[in-house]
């Protein structure tokens, strides 16, 4: 708790002034990001539903496309559904362990049968969500159901699919074909990987203020997919999924704008 003591001291020293500076920073930072993103004419997301104006569907602005869609499909379990008493809630630690760095596509923590190695079958659980008895957990919802080739970004752990050797712990099996015992290591070769730090959750400008959004919105602008419903990670589940316009209270954590200064 060294960090906490240090922050307390600094907080006393700087007080509210610093907080005010921070809020200005937020506004400037977010404004800039939105402007940049709007400049992208092309997006890979699906068409905006037609509203009777014109016949051609426009490509939506990527970062904005999902925010009101709440792409929990009609089939998805309702967000107000309580956790099944049998379920083990999803936790942040596992959420992070499945990703190589903040923003990396998570690997698949369960095996895949041959049948599940079909396109879009992933969707039958990860679009619908809900309690999966086989794992004793809720299935997380995908924030980007418009992508169909799930396995091009998300890969399973081969050791759980049964690829590899019948008994990797027993070198005697290996040595029947390989002259030297060749036990498959967990990694092909050790790696010195130091990922970007995870953003602190619950960043706020003031106590009780709505927390900031500490991650990119690209591919992850469909807030409720991850933050709502019984499948959401416990630490980041929203208490008020019924309020549809998330971005009216929650804004992107400060980027590089610095504090406001008159030109």
């Amino acid at each position: 708790m060294r960090r906490r003591t240090a922050s307390d001291t600094i907080a006393r020293a700087l007080g509210i002034g610093a907080v005010t500076v921070l809020m200005a920073t937020l506004v400037a930072g977010v404004g800039r990001v939105v402007a940049e993103r709007e400049a992208e004419k092309e997006s890979r997301l699906g068409p905006i539903p037609e509203r009777g104006r014109g016949s051609r569907a426009e490509r939506p602005v990527a970062v904005e496309a999902g925010v009101f869609r709440m792409k929990r499909s009609d089939l998805a379990v309702p967000w107000e559904q309580p956790l099944s008493p049998a379920a083990e809630p999803r936790r942040l630690a596992l959420y992070r362990a499945l990703r190589a760095y903040p923003g990396a596509p998570p690997r698949i923590p369960h095996g895949l049968t041959a049948d599940e190695f079909r396109l879009t079958l992933c969707h039958s659980c990860h679009v619908r969500g809900g309690y999966v008895a086989r794992f004793g957990k809720y299935a997380p919802l995908t924030p980007h159901p418009e992508y169909r080739d799930c396995l091009s970004c998300h890969v399973p752990d081969g050791s759980k699919v049964g690829i590899g050797f019948p008994n990797p712990a027993n070198p005697a099996v290996c040595s029947q074909c390989h002259p030297a015992p060749d036990v498959r290591p967990r990694e092909f070769a050790p790696i010195d990987w130091r990922p970007a730090p995870w953003p602190g959750i619950g960043q706020r400008a003031l106590a009780e203020a709505p927390p900031l959004i500490p991650h990119d919105l690209e591919s992850r602008n469909n807030c409720l997919a991850c933050h709502g419903g019984p499948g959401a990670v416990q630490e980041i589940r929203t208490s008020h999924p019924e309020r549809a316009n998330c971005l009216q209270c929650h804004v992107r954590a400060p980027l590089e704008a610095g504090e406001f200064r008159r030109p």
Binding site: I10, A100, V155, A172, D182, I191, D192, I201, E218, E235
Partner: protein
């Protein structure tokens, strides 16, 4: 404290103090322990653009950098290639920089053991060896074998050093193994290399025909663009011609499984149907197409020192129609495994004038003993119906390496090429001599050996010194056992520049540590003629040095410093300036470096500040002359594209009683090439830790093999014990076996056949005969 630092400090403090205050003011608030983790300092991560260094799609990535290390990756939303998406390899690509067994120091073999030496001494030794070998055995006794992973500057320096300064055409690259049939296909049909269209064709096409290409695994991000189009436009169809049922088949609307090698007959049958149904675009053919015959019964290059030279002979429309008589859908149905109605349906996709068609292919067509012909035949279909060089009508040859196009094809790091034109062309030699400032006599006019022959010459001893950069031939060469033995022979000297230990560095006499990807400044060129620049973002570990700079250092030691007078800071800019002089015509002009630094890649020809997205089309291509009509195929002197009369010929080795199965090799999504990078990335290694042999369930049952059992695969060249998988990821057709080639400890290429296309020199890794022996169950001791 500088102003910037002060501001950053104030901001950090604000964040931390806000967090602390909220915690103390609302003690009842339930928060995870994560609350107390200091917020990441977003100012600390800087994002810089680079093309992905895996496949030839060329996705734009943003690399997150912090404290001198790469810490994260995003797809670049501004890249027109991938629009913010990447595949699992791209997302995890930066992890490959940090494997703990990176080669960071040079090493030399002494008494059979590798001993580390300073880099400068190693470069001295390499230069001395080159000098000495040439003195004793002549110029053609030294050779350089490079890579489609070379940056454009590395390839350019290689060509200038070997062809211009040393004066030998002993320069090849691994791209010979993956796309030289595509090159000779383009050159024979259009007279100029590389596609006429671009990825934007995907948004215009109504039908996609994949010729033997498991695109969902090998070009996933581009495949996602196909899937997106089908979601958006209900009329879009994805059709696959394949020999295996793969993830791509599951995604396709229709998957047609044909017998290996009969793609040649199927393509001709499609043309037969187009002609007999009167779907030929007669106006287009009359104005823009000429007919040619080449040699037939051209052999397979299995014997050493095999030589072949193609001769084009004029043919007529009537001759072509008579030629097609052999390929009625009924007749082709008998050998191809497709039904006549399936062939007719395929032909109708191409023939329907209201439908725009994009054909896509990669190794199934290129790694083929008739690879050049197979490429020609797909172009024939498109040319007959006039569906070429306009948005959505696009025969599109994909590539598998990040700069197979940009470096190997455009710079011409192949024995018969120069940066512009062929070595046999006196004008091409003159231009090269002028730009390189070397005497024109320096540049030899005769090609020497292409990749397979180069390694055979190394085995025979005609090549004594071989330098390999950025590739792993001791896993990738077909009929591998022969070439592994070659490297061990007494008077051969092998230098290998790489980033990780591989079976190729294992047999080297000198190992040089290379910079990897964003540890150097460089340029790549992808499959759609897009050139992409990346700056040096990281310091290479230890004494690692870019391949380009290694070549420059050796060139200077050989007394060619005056040809390479650049300093490290500006050498990429200077090289780009010099190299682009070769392409300074409207057919191939490249964008200036400043433009490339600003943008997520630029498609060439770049003329008057505009990319040329569709070549040969007078509406889009300033080099195309409207006097020839809507299109001008200016690659050939007659301004026409050529339809070739290419027959079906059988493969050199077919299954028989002794070896009753077909053996095919290829890739899986998670690994790239020989896995020397992707296997060091934990998430990818764990996903597919070992190679395996895919069997059809009925074959497995007949053999008494269950999923996960071991089998022994035996060909005339070698054998391999490997785990059998049944319906794990894909399913080969009956009578076929598929093995991915990424696993260095299960080198399937010991079994493959080194037969190649006589025109392109590209080997066929997809077809040879194999026996599958059941190993029985293991008894635990």
């Amino acid at each position: 404290m500088s102003e910037l630092e002060r501001r950053a400090f104030v901001k950090r403090v604000a964040l931390v103090s806000a967090a602390a205050m909220a915690g103390s003011l609302a003690p009842g608030l339930v928060l995870g322990e994560e609350w107390w983790i200091a917020p990441a300092d977003p100012d600390g991560i800087v994002w810089k653009k680079a093309p992905c260094r895996f496949c030839g799609v060329g996705c734009g990535l943003l690399i997150g950098l912090q404290n001198g290390r790469a810490v994260a990756v995003k797809g670049d939303p501004s890249s027109p290639v991938n629009r913010g998406l990447a595949c699992v390899k791209g997302y995890h690509s930066v992890l490959a920089l940090y494997g703990s067994d990176r080669i960071t120091k040079a090493a030399v073999r002494r008494n059979g053991r590798m001993v580390e030496i300073p880099m400068s001494q190693a470069l001295d030794l390499v230069a001395e060896r080159i000098r000495e070998t040439i003195r004793r055995h002549g110029k053609d006794s030294v050779a350089l074998y490079g890579s489609g992973q070379w940056t454009i500057p590395a390839g350019y320096v290689a060509a200038k050093l070997f062809k211009g300064a040393l004066g030998t055409n002993n320069l090849e690259a691994n791209a010979r193994l993956c796309m030289s049939s595509a090159v000779s296909g383009f050159l024979t049909t259009f007279g100029l290399d590389e596609p006429m269209g671009c990825y934007e064709d995907v948004e215009h096409a109504d039908a996609f025909v994949l010729w033997g290409n498991n695109m969902a695994e090998t070009h996933p991000v581009l495949f996602s663009r196909l899937l997106e189009q089908r979601d958006r436009r209900p009329a879009v169809r994805i059709v696959e011609l394949a020999t295996r049922t793969t993830r791509t088949s599951y995604a396709a609307d229709r998957s047609l499984i044909f017998v290996p090698q009969t793609d040649l007959a199927v393509a001709n049958a499609i043309c037969h149907e187009i002609v007999h149904r009167n779907w030929v675009n007669r106006d287009f053919v009359a104005r823009h197409v000429a007919f040619k015959k080449g040699k037939t019964d051209i052999g397979y290059g299995l014997q050493d020192d095999f030589h072949f030279s193609e001769e084009a002979e004029d043919a007529t429309w009537e001759e072509y129609v008579r030629f097609l008589d052999d390929y009625s859908p009924e007749r082709v149905a008998r050998i191809s495994g497709l039904s006549a109605s399936e062939i007719r349906w395929l032909a109708s996709l191409y023939g329907d004038p209201s439908r725009k068609v994009m054909s896509l292919w990669c190794m199934g067509i290129n790694q083929h003993t008739r690879g050049t012909w197979a490429n020609n035949l797909i172009y024939n279909i498109h040319l007959l119906v006039g569906k070429v060089a306009s948005p959505g009508n696009s025969p599109f040859s994909l590539t598998g390496q990040p700069s197979a196009c940009g470096t190997v094809r455009e710079v011409g790091t192949l024995t018969h090429r120069l940066p512009k034109g062929a070595v046999t062309d006196p004008d091409a030699r003159r231009l090269a001599a002028e730009i390189w400032k070397v005497p024109v006599e320096n540049i030899p006019s005769r090609p020497t050996w292409h990749a397979v022959e180069m390694f055979r010459a190394f085995d025979r001893g005609e090549i004594k010194f071989l330098w390999i950069q950025g590739t792993n031939p001791m896993v990738t060469l077909p009929h591998l056992s022969r070439y592994r033995r070659a490297a061990a022979k007494a008077d051969r000297f092998l230098v290998v520049s790489d980033v990780y230990p591989t079976p190729t560095t294992d047999v080297a006499d000198v190992v040089l540590p290379s910079a990897l990807w964003i540890e150097q400044e460089g340029l790549f060129g992808n499959s759609e003629r897009r050139t992409q620049h990346f700056e040096q973002m990281l310091t290479p570990p230890g004494e690692a040095m870019s391949d380009a700079w290694q070549l420059i250092e050796v060139a200077r030691r050989l007394g060619f410093g005056h040809l390479f007078p650049w300093n490290y800071e500006t050498h990429v800019a200077k090289i780009w300036e010099e190299y682009t002089r070769f392409h300074d015509t409207p057919e191939h002009r490249m964008a200036p470096l400043e433009e490339l630094k600003r943008r997520p890649g630029v498609i060439w020809p770049y003329v008057n500040g505009r990319e040329t997205k569709w070549r040969y089309n007078t509406r889009y291509d300033p080099a195309a002359d409207p006097r020839y009509g809507e299109f001008d195929f200016y690659g050939h002197p007659d301004h026409r594209a050529w339809i070739w009369l290419r027959p079906y010929e059988p493969p050199p080795e077919v299954p028989d009683e002794e070896y009753p199965f077909w053996l095919s090799t290829g890739r899986v999504l998670e690994h790239w090439h020989t896995g020397s990078l992707t296997r060091r990335i934990p998430v990818l290694h764990r996903a597919v830790p070992r190679a395996y042999a895919e069997l059809h369930p009925e074959d497995a049952e007949q053999l008494g093999v269950k999923d996960g059992d071991f089998v022994r695969l035996v060909t005339r060249r070698g054998s391999l014990v490997i785990q059998a998988r049944v319906d794990y990821r894909a399913r080969p057709a009956r009578g076929q076996v598929f093995v991915p080639f990424f696993d260095e400890s299960l080198p399937i290429n010991q079994l493959t056949l080194d037969a190649y296309c006589p025109i392109s020199g590209q080997p066929d890794y997809k077809k040879c005969a194999v026996r599958v022996e059941r190993m029985g169950s293991f008894r635990l001791p």
